[in-house]
Subunit: 125 residues, 2 copies
DNA sequence: ATTGTTGCAAAAATTTTGCATTATC
DNA sequence: GATAATGCAAAATTTTTGCAACAAT
C-alpha cells in the first residue's frame, strides 16, 4: 500500500494546513514554514498542495485577491469570505438541496458542492 | 446622472456577456468580439469586466483552470461546473439557508451567496 | 539502484497598469 | 476643450515546470 505523507516536508506542509482554520494560500503555508525550515521552496508547497487535492485530503475553498485558498477540513461545510479583509470562516451547513436532486435527474454526476457566503465579517464591521 | 455603458465598446462587451450562457472568461469575451472589432484590446475587456463587477451588473462565478468566469445574469441562482470540460451551467436554486440566518445572528453582513456544484456534466459522461 | 522529493530558477499564464492616443460629450 | 475610454506593451502576480541534486528504501 502506498504511503501518504512520505517525506517530512510533505508532512509538515500538511500539518500546517490542518492546524490552522484560516484557509491558507500556498504562500501563507510557505511563509509559516519558512522560519522552522529555511530550506523550503514555494514550488514544493504548490506541488504538495496539488497532490493533496488529488488525494482529496485538502479542498479548494475560494479564490481571494487572486490567490487560491484551501482547507484541510474535508467534511461538508460552507464558508464565509469577508470582502474587506479576505478572512475565510467556516460555516456549518449540510442541508442537502433540491437543486442537487434535480441535477442528478438531468444526468449530471454531482461530486461536490461548494457554498460560500460573501459579505463583511464581524471584525470588519 | 452618470450614464452607464458610455462607449460603444463597453456596450459591446456587456452585450456579449449577457447574450451567452457559457459564463465566459475575459479571454472568451475578447475572442468573440475580435472578429467584429479588430481594434479591441484584452486590457479593455478586463477593465470593463472590473467595472461591471463594481456596478453589480456582472457577477463572478468561479475560477476554472486558472481563469475567472463571470455571469451577466445577476438574479440568485446556482451553478454546476464540469470538472472534465470546464463548462458552467446555470442551476435554479433560491432556497434560503439556515446557515445564512446564523451568520447574520453572529454579526456578519451577508451580501451574497454562491452555490456551486462540481462533477461531470451529461455531455462528458 | 531505483524511485520519489526537493530547490532553484525559468517559464507560463492570467490580470493589472502606465501612458500616449482616441473618442465622447 | 475637458473628461472618459482605449490600445499597446510592459509589469506584476500567481502558479507550473525542467532539471540537477538529494533522500529514502
Amino acid at each position: 500500500m502506498r504511503r501518504l505523507n512520505f517525506s517530512s516536508k510533505r508532512l509538515a506542509i500538511y500539518n500546517v494546513i490542518c492546524s490552522t482554520d484560516c484557509h491558507p494560500s500556498a504562500r501563507w503555508v510557505y511563509d509559516n514554514l519558512k522560519d522552522d525550515r529555511p530550506d523550503l521552496s514555494l514550488g514544493t508547497v504548490y506541488r504538495n498542495i496539488s497532490l493533496f487535492k488529488e488525494q482529496g485530503i485538502v479542498k479548494y475553498v475560494a479564490t481571494v485577491d487572486g490567490e487560491e485558498r484551501i482547507d484541510g477540513r474535508t467534511d461538508p461545510h460552507a464558508h464565509f469570505v469577508c470582502n474587506r479583509c479576505g478572512r475565510i470562516y467556516d460555516v456549518e451547513d449540510n442541508e442537502p438541496t433540491a437543486a442537487e436532486t434535480a441535477l442528478i435527474g438531468d444526468g449530471f454526476n454531482v461530486e461536490s458542492k461548494s457554498v460560500t457566503y460573501y459579505g463583511v465579517c464581524d471584525k470588519c464591521k
